[in-house]
């Protein structure tokens, strides 16, 4: 990894690209929540405090349907349960005593986490911080734009905005697989588990099921990537 790939600057640079995807998703979330009857200001506040698209969509969906607040919070909490193993993986790379580490752990979001992971499994904490610090305001601003402009789902669909977020996940996945080609089988297994899981399970549970594919490494013979 070159010097330009590491640290705060790399994280901030990375965050700009990720922030564009984040803004696009936040735009659709803001519009979705307001259409579901939530006040725009409350929606923006949610994005500022929660910073998680999957959980926020789950909360609004559940509380708009037959379920109440408890169902909504439970659904959202399940959607974000993946942050537990992510924070376990990151723990050793953070600095300071228990309070500082707990605070630094708040910068964990999907794309920043994946991008900050080094080949040896440790994390570039400054890159993590930089990437998240750009995405957080992008998430809030995108939500505000969606909540107050309320673009219709048809408009979002017509201009292809719904492809931006999965597109960025795909870019990150391709980058990870180029680094570790031996993980292609695990990614494929995760995709199958996720596809089957989301057919019957809530999105959060399906994500946990997909992530469990990483457990294949517990029984697999250790080996390096092909040259």
């Amino acid at each position: 990894m070159t010097e330009s790939d590491a640290g705060w600057r790399a994280g901030l640079r990375l965050g700009v690209g990720l922030g564009a995807a984040t803004f696009a998703l936040a735009l659709s979330f803001g519009a979705f929540a307001v259409t579901a009857g939530w006040h725009p200001l409350v929606v923006v506040l949610m994005s500022a405090m929660v910073l998680s698209g999957s959980a926020q969509f789950a909360l609004v969906t559940a509380m708009t349907g037959a379920g109440g607040a408890i169902t909504g919070v439970a659904a959202a909490a399940l959607a974000n349960a993946r942050f537990i193993p992510m924070s376990v993986a990151t723990a050793a790379s953070l600095h300071g005593g228990w309070l500082r580490r707990g605070i630094e752990g708040q910068t964990i979001v999907d794309a920043s986490w994946v991008s900050a992971q080094r080949p040896d499994g440790s994390f570039d904490r400054e890159k993590l911080f930089g990437a998240t610090f750009v995405q957080w305001p992008a998430w809030i601003l995108g939500t505000a734009a969606g909540a107050y402009l309320v673009p219709s789902p048809e408009t979002v669909h017509a201009i292809g905005l719904d492809v931006v977020f999965p597109g960025f996940f795909l870019v990150l996945l391709i980058d990870a697989l180029r680094e570790h080609r031996r993980l292609l089988a695990i990614a494929a297994a995760a995709a199958v588990l996720g596809a089957v899981g989301v057919l019957w399970l809530p999105a959060g549970a399906a994500l946990l099921l997909a992530s469990a594919a990483a457990g294949i490494e517990l029984v697999r013979r250790p080996g390096g990537d092909p040259a």
Binding site: W38, H39, M63, A91, G102, D162, V163, A206
Partner: protein, 106 residues
């Protein structure tokens, strides 16, 4: 029927607190503890597994209700271009352009 403002704010606050625990408890408790090589291998694999799962769940949606074949050419272009090392933002722009084109044909 939408929940009252108070209930919405309480739900947001509860979720925010849950997130704080999710993200902060392990770093606070584990400190700089190192893991065995096998556990480290699992943690390295967790990223691609999570990304693949996020992709599939995002594209298919709960109960596969969100399936939209018009996103496939765009996502295929993103994957192919990125594998060749093209700039991520250009990959996304190409993906969006192909998706819009596919939708104009449908």
């Amino acid at each position: 029927m939408t929940a009252s403002l108070t209930v919405q704010l309480l739900a947001i606050a509860a979720l925010a607190v849950i997130n704080i625990f999710y993200k902060g408890l392990a770093p606070a408790v584990l400190g700089d503890r190192e893991f065995s090589p096998r556990v480290t291998a699992v943690l390295i694999a967790f990223g691609p597994a999570l990304l693949a799962g996020l992709l599939v769940v995002e594209v298919l949606g709960a109960g596969w209700r969100d399936i939209d074949a018009t996103v496939l050419p765009g996502l295929a272009a993103v994957a192919a271009l990125r594998w060749r090392g093209v700039n991520p933002l250009l990959c996304i722009v190409a993906g969006v352009a192909l998706t819009v084109a596919a939708r104009s044909l449908v």
